[in-house]
């Protein structure tokens, strides 16, 4: 699976149009999309043609584009819960027939991960606007955020972490239930620390998390990570 590490400098000057480039190059994606355009329209006034129009694709359940008559295979995939996000599109575009056997799409797929990332980034611009939607694809996916190894190496105080964690638990359930708000228990320590620093540095965007992580010091993030690592089922 492809993943792009974001550099902080780039994150700081991200504009709305550039957000998707975290994952791929929009302009390159547009050029690559030429291969798709004979069947798919996207952008203002896009209509269903041989294939469905691709506006607002992200978050859409597969096989549900209005007014398009899908193959049985796609209807089935949709009813089983396939939804279009960066990850699922990546899998589909690598080998369409592998993800949805029986799809009528004859395109064989993009082999190069970078090509897929670029096309996905291009398409993302025609769904709910990413700058407008901090929790949305693809920014909602986990980012590999560069964290100073010295920060990762900090040993946190779990008792302090437990106190601080009470602030997390108003929304994130300790049972690990996932309902509108993702679970955070059992996250590996480094993942937790990297994610919190990504929020703190606003490389990963969500207003509540940016605000909360923004005022945590390195030691406090380490303390939280130490505490969450001690939680049992």
């Amino acid at each position: 699976m492809m993943r792009a590490a974001i550099s902080l400098a780039a994150a700081a000057c991200m504009t709305q149009a550039a957000v998707a480039s975290e994952l791929g190059d929009v302009e390159r994606g547009e050029r690559l999309f030429a291969k798709c355009r004979s069947c798919h329209q996207v952008g203002e006034g896009a209509k269903n043609r041989t294939g469905p129009q691709l506006n607002n694709l992200f978050g859409r359940r597969a096989g549900t584009a209005e007014g398009y008559s899908f193959s049985k295979a796609f209807e089935r995939a949709g009813s089983k819960g396939l939804e279009w996000h960066a990850e699922t599109l990546d899998t589909y575009l690598e080998n369409p027939k592998a993800l949805v056997p029986g799809t009528r799409m004859t395109f064989a797929g993009f082999d190069a991960p970078q090509d897929r990332a670029d096309v996905i980034a291009y398409l993302r611009g025609f769904s709910a606007s990413p700058a407008n939607y901090p929790g949305a694809d693809p920014t909602a996916r986990q980012t590999d955020h560069d964290v100073d190894p010295a920060i990762l190496a900090l040993e946190g105080d779990p008792e302090y972490g437990e106190y601080l964690s009470s602030e997390c638990k108003t929304c994130h359930q300790t049972s690990g239930a996932d309902k509108g708000i993702p679970p955070i228990v059992h996250l590996p320590r480094d993942t937790f620390v990297a994610a919190m620093h990504a929020y703190k540095d606003k490389a990963r965007k969500h207003p509540v998390m940016n605000m909360l992580a923004g005022r945590l010091g390195n030691e406090e993030i380490a303390a939280l990570a130490a505490y969450f690592a001690t939680l049992e089922d």
Partner: protein, 420 residues
């Protein structure tokens, strides 16, 4: 000011030592009484019992066996939640955390003897007393309205039967009738609450009574999330909702519950359903304890202790603390700071610096949620805002839906944090 733990522990050793000196050494288990099993009280009781592992005797006094949340009660009025979605019981606080839950009213507080009296007759002694009684209404704030009129003109601003009554009246309103809300003056619990309610009532009318009218009589110049609500009302309920502010004389409102009329500075409105949300003050027990100054109970921002008595703490809607809005989220946040401080004072456990947060979600129409939030810190004179955010007008539908789903996550997390 920002703390990390090292600077806190380093510079504040004296303060920490003073805070953590066990107050009741050698007297058996220290006793904490928590009055009110709502957002503040249930959280405080749970954290004290959970974190002290039985070292503190925690008693929670709450008259009702089922707590019906005010949060999401507007969604119930809008038909998006059921009564049972809103109800929570105290069973786990007792069985899983060892909280001694007493279903009774506190009718007296003797600060010299450090004891509370219950309506059932018992007297219980405390080392520390935590009050989180929520609100009561200021008598005479809406002339003509009183608790005796609450069935004719429900407030629905405390959880439970009042909310059900208001919803029943909304659903039974005659076709093309008028729903009037008398909105409260500041400060009151849940600043966006009345306007979320109007949205949910409009949501019902749109489906069941499209010619109905909604009139808000509002003594305030402006209100929470105003631009967001106005944008949404225009978009979804165009023309249904009218708001009369102080420029229409809305601060001079009287009601007649027998006639079902609302008099706005001489102009009479005939109401089919009338929701009166009066001015508010701290729940009465705070006054009984003598810790109020005016309508609310002033507290120290570091630990929520009363400014009138170091062994009494006041949480949530009832306290006067500074910049935090009166919300369930705020009460929950304050309860954790308080529990940490009280446990430190009684058992010598470490006391960490106060940190507070609030986020309030509101629903404008199904799947169209907005939010406002902030972080706060304790300064010498108040709980002061550090940083905040608010949803923007013109956001797309996917973001609004995600915001709504987030509020569902918060509700589940919050109630688990209160009741286990």
């Amino acid at each position: 000011m920002t703390f990390d733990r090292r600077t806190f522990l380093g510079m504040g050793t004296a303060a920490v030592a003073a805070l953590s000196a066990p107050a009741v050494l050698g007297q058996g288990k220290p006793r904490v009484i928590v009055v009110g099993g709502g957002a503040g009280g249930a959280t405080a009781a749970r954290y004290l019992a959970k974190d002290s592992n039985g070292a503190i005797d925690v008693r929670l006094i709450e008259p009702t066996r089922t707590y019906f949340t005010c949060f999401f009660s507007n969604l119930y009025i809008g038909g998006l939640k059921t009564v049972s979605d809103l109800g929570h019981t105290y069973g786990k606080l007792a069985s899983d955390y060892g909280v001694n839950v007493v279903h009774d009213w506190v009718i007296g507080v003797d600060r010299d003897k450090k004891a509370v009296t219950l309506a059932g007759g018992a007297t219980l002694a405390y080392d520390k007393l935590i009050l989180s009684p929520g609100i009561d209404f200021v008598e005479g704030s809406v002339p003509g309205w009183g608790l005796a009129a609450q069935n004719a003109m429900p407030h629905a601003y405390k959880g439970g039967s009042q909310t059900e009554l208001l919803k029943a009246q909304v659903m039974a309103m005659r076709e093309g009738g008028t729903f009037v809300m008398v909105a409260p003056p500041n400060p009151y619990r849940c600043p966006p609450g009345p306007y979320e309610r109007v949205s949910m009532v409009a949501h019902q009318f749109k489906a069941h009574n499209p010619k109905a009218k909604i009139v808000i009589v509002d003594p305030k110049e402006k209100y929470s999330k105003q631009a967001l609500f106005e944008e949404g009302w225009q978009k979804y309920y165009g023309g249904m909702i009218e708001r009369l502010g102080p420029d229409f004389g809305a601060e001079k409102v009287t009601v007649d519950p027998d006639e079902m009329t609302v008099d706005v500075d001489g102009e009479i409105i005939k109401a089919d359903v009338c929701n009166v949300i009066p001015a508010q003050k701290a729940g009465r027990v705070a006054e009984l304890a003598g810790v109020t100054d005016g309508d609310w109970a002033p507290v120290h921002p570091t630990d929520m202790s009363s400014r009138a008595d170091p062994d009494i703490y006041v949480l949530g809607d009832a306290c006067h603390q500074g910049d935090m809005p009166k919300s369930g989220f705020s009460a929950n946040s304050q309860a954790k700071v308080c529990a940490n401080a009280v446990r430190g004072a009684l058992t010598g456990s470490k006391v960490f610096p106060a940190k507070f947060t609030n986020t309030c979600w509101s629903l404008i129409e199904e799947n169209d949620g907005v939010k406002v939030g902030a972080t706060y810190e304790a300064t010498s004179d108040k709980i002061a805002k550090v940083d905040g955010f608010i949803s923007h007008t013109g956001e797309d539908t996917a973001l609004r839906k995600a915001t709504y789903e987030e509020s569902e996550g918060w509700y589940a997390g919050m109630t688990a944090d209160m009741f286990g």
